[in-house]
């Protein structure tokens, strides 16, 4: 957490001398989930809106706590013994395998996050397209959360960023 905040502070304190499109011009509204909310509700949100990830927040801060890519949420429908031995996936019977809802019930978003906190794909509201792209590519994230005055301002997806870059 310290690293991520240090990075954000450093970035936002730097003066920008040039015009052009900024992160806050590009970002979009995006569903946000609380870290202590129900994991199954979050999966429904991803599924229904066909999102490629979710921004996770806590009760104590309005800045994003984590970004949870949909491809990682998928891990939670894979039984632990299949994660340990992928070859077992093919020999599971349906009754053993397909109870995603059961596996998730009683779990929270917190349970779905990696035990060790990761770098968060976050950009400052006045970051340029290149700055957002650098963060996205480095953290291999399908989306970047944009923060303005310590609050989540919106989210930029990879395809949205590419569309903006082509227009420049």
């Amino acid at each position: 957490m310290e690293n991520t905040h240090a990075e954000a502070d450093h970035r936002s304190s730097r003066r920008k001398y040039c015009g052009g499109v900024r992160a806050e011009d590009l970002d979009e509204n995006f569903p946000v989930v609380n870290i202590d909310s129900n994991a199954l509700d979050a999966v429904r949100l991803l599924a229904e809106h066909r999102l490629n990830g979710l921004v996770v927040v806590t009760d104590t801060s309005e800045t994003p706590y984590a970004v949870l890519p949909a491809s990682q949420v998928v891990r939670f429908i894979v039984p632990g013994y299949v994660q340990d031995d992928p070859g077992l996936a093919g020999v599971l019977t349906e009754s053993m395998a397909d109870h995603a809802a059961e596996k998730l019930s009683g779990k929270t978003i917190r349970d779905m996050l990696p035990k060790q906190r990761q770098h968060i794909p976050v950009a400052d509201a006045d970051d340029t397209i290149i700055e957002v792209a650098e963060v996205m590519a480095r953290l291999r994230s399908p989306l970047v959360a944009v923060v303005k005055n310590d609050k989540l301002h919106g989210v930029i997806t990879a395809s949205r960023l590419l569309a903006a870059a082509l227009k420049e």
Copy 2:
């Protein structure tokens, strides 16, 4: 390549004893790009259709050669010296930074792929949801290509897979 094919062969040769939803029931049509095609056209495709990735094929085979996530394509709008030193992203002037189209012109999809070939997120047409989920989570891919009779049959995104898992 050998590893990936060996894995696919192993998976498809295994008999399935159970019913239920299979990869071929879930997959969707998805744009496919040839490895020697224009990189800029591929970026336009990602941007216009808001895709989270592309399936790459070659002239010599109808099976997928690679999957290129949109978050990795984004890397190509970041200048090399910013990739080496992320701190430089913020001090770039617009004229230095924002010529994505120029950076991509003359490049092919092949130029955008990692030098060393990666494991491909691919599933067999009769794979179960759990098998598709296992591949997606392990390779941290936003999509999985589904192959039937050595041909690309369609693509399953993470959100599509989650929607299917909830319905089981």
